[in-house]
């Protein structure tokens, strides 16, 4: 079992991720944007962070850059797909700046859990 933080401004997306991850036995916390997520990581030190890219206040790539600066060994998964265009570019950048894996929405439960397992291995 791992302690995982999900950062996403969409309530439904957070709920869905939480359900999948909890059913796989993980302990899950939530944040609605990068600022909240970084603050939680400082206080709770998660094993893995899953972050959306398009978010208010602090978006995903910015969040990954800041998290990797403070926690170089932290495992991060970047997810995106909600926008109208160009999300793949952001996911490429997320990988370049330190996300261990990226997932394009929509993804299946198996794809998510496989990514999580790779990151935690």
């Amino acid at each position: 079992m791992a302690r995982i933080l999900v950062i996403d401004d969409e309530e439904l997306a957070r709920f869905t991720l939480r359900e999948i991850l909890q059913s796989a036995g993980h302990d899950v916390a939530e944040a609605t944007n990068g600022n909240e997520g970084i603050a939680l990581q400082h206080s709770q030190h998660f094993d893995l962070i899953i972050t959306d890219i398009i978010m208010p206040e602090k978006e995903g790539v910015e969040t990954i850059i800041e998290l990797k600066r403070e926690f170089p060994d932290l495992n991060i998964i970047g997810i995106s797909g909600g926008g109208r265009t160009r999300n793949l570019d952001f996911l490429k950048l997320a990988e370049q700046y330190g996300a261990k894996k990226v997932l394009t929405k929509p993804f299946t439960e198996d794809e998510l859990l496989e990514c999580v397992n790779v990151c935690l291995a």
Binding site: I53, P56, E57, R69, R84, T85
Partner: protein
């Protein structure tokens, strides 16, 4: 003006002048205007009432008074005008309101002007004012008319003539073309220092930013600046597009439009394929025919004509066929939460794209808003999240999506160096 203050002033106006009568109390109604604007009214009503109050205030003498009457009317009391002159002034006010709100000065179709009258038994009621043509004709017959009052061209006031352009300088904001990850266009912005180290931008750099003559002079001044910058860019052997704002007031009135277009032809015709006009301060309810008229006034002088709207504008049907290349918004002064702004950005870009229009967004100040703008599908983006303003454009240059994160990384590197120095 509050109601009790209005009553006090009304009493003063009626008692100070023995000739004041019911014929000087008028009602300007906006009901038909609301019907014309339709479902957009709720969105623009606050701004509309602000414009109505501003128009009335600008046309009244210090002795005259006015107040809102219900949600859709304004009562105006003239202290020193005769009935017909007061009616004419109200009609002019109504026309100006229509011009500012929907770009159409056919006030009779969109507003009601009524005069307070008394029935034989003494009951008061509001009687609809006859058409403006009949009014003018009546007044001409009486030979009492002050022809200046009929003109819709504002008098060239001292404030319009008294602009110290030596205190207004220009800066340029690079506009990023998202699809090709390149800066090709520079937006010309007038700025004036205000003494405490801060600056005022755009038409706020004018002593009176609402004076149409001053606005037109500023627009002409911007053309001069653009011509000089094109020469400088050419001297450097580079190429770039320049986008200049042109205010609705400058193109809406025929004499001001002619001065502007003539000057543009003279100064910038050889740069036509690198000029972009951005129509700004368009009335919220402007009909498509009026947009067509404004676009055609300048399109032959430019590579593209764009238009700036409020972020909650959603109805773009027929704007493409009116000749607009792109529609855009400025979010620099938005004070709402980023989540709300992002939702409206998505709606705006979606509505424009469904009407085959390109989109641009000014004033993107955070990385999260920049990312949201890209994801929403905006074609052109500018703001501090991407680039800083510059004094003079040096030509087009590439700017990758990755580059927009460099300041974060540079900060990281700088902090790393500081830490390393501290450890030694």
């Amino acid at each position: 003006m509050k109601n009790d203050e209005f009553i006090k002033n009304l009493d003063k106006a009626l008692t100070a002048n023995s000739t004041v009568s019911t014929g000087r109390v008028h009602l300007v109604g906006l009901e038909k205007l609301r019907e014309m604007i339709g479902s957009d009214w709720d969105r623009i009503k606050d701004r509309a009432h602000q414009i109505v109050r501003s128009v009335i205030e600008s046309r009244l003498s210090p002795q005259d008074v006015f107040t809102a009457y219900g949600d859709m009317s304004y009562i105006i009391v003239f202290a020193n005008l005769g009935k017909e002159e007061a009616q004419l002034k109200c009609t002019i006010i109504a026309q100006e309101i229509c011009g500012r709100l929907i770009g159409n000065q056919s006030a009779e179709d969109f507003t009601d002007v009524s005069t307070l009258a008394a029935k034989d038994e003494g009951t008061l009621y509001f009687k609809k004012v006859p058409s403006i043509k009949n009014l003018v004709s009546d007044l001409e017959k009486k030979a009492k008319i002050d022809k200046r009052e009929i003109s819709f061209t504002p008098v060239d006031t001292p404030l319009a003539n008294n602009i110290d352009f030596s205190k207004i300088r220009f800066i340029f904001r690079p506009l990023w073309y998202v699809r090709h990850e390149v800066v090709t266009t520079f937006i010309c912005i007038p700025v004036r220092a205000v003494g405490d180290g801060s600056y005022v931008y755009g038409y706020n750099a004018l002593p009176d930013p609402t004076n149409p003559m001053a606005i037109a002079r500023m627009d002409s001044h911007i053309l001069g600046c653009a011509a000089r910058e094109f020469d400088k860019i050419a001297e450097k052997g580079k190429s770039a597009l320049l986008s200049v704002p042109v205010h609705y007031e400058t193109l809406a009135e025929s004499s001001r439009r002619k001065v502007y277009v003539d000057l543009c032809s003279k100064l910038l015709s050889r740069h036509r394929d690198r000029m972009v006009f951005e129509l700004v301060e368009l009335p919220d309810g402007i009909p498509q025919t009026r947009i067509l008229d404004l676009v055609s006034a300048v399109s032959f002088l430019a590579r593209a004509v764009t238009a700036n709207f409020s972020l909650n504008h959603k109805n773009f049907s027929d704007y493409r066929s009116a000749g607009l290349h792109a529609v855009g918004v400025d979010i620099y002064s938005e004070e709402r939460s980023e989540k709300e702004i992002m939702r409206d950005m998505d709606n705006f870009a979606g509505a424009a794209s469904r009407n085959n229009l390109k989109t641009y967004i000014h004033g993107v100040r955070t990385t999260s808003l920049k990312t949201a703008a890209i994801a929403s599908g905006f074609d052109y983006i500018d703001g501090y999240a991407l680039t800083s303003v510059i004094d003079s454009p040096g030509g087009a240059y590439p700017l990758g999506l990755k580059d927009s994160y460099l300041p974060l990384l540079e900060w990281d590197e700088a902090r790393g160096k500081l830490a390393a120095r501290a450890n030694h």
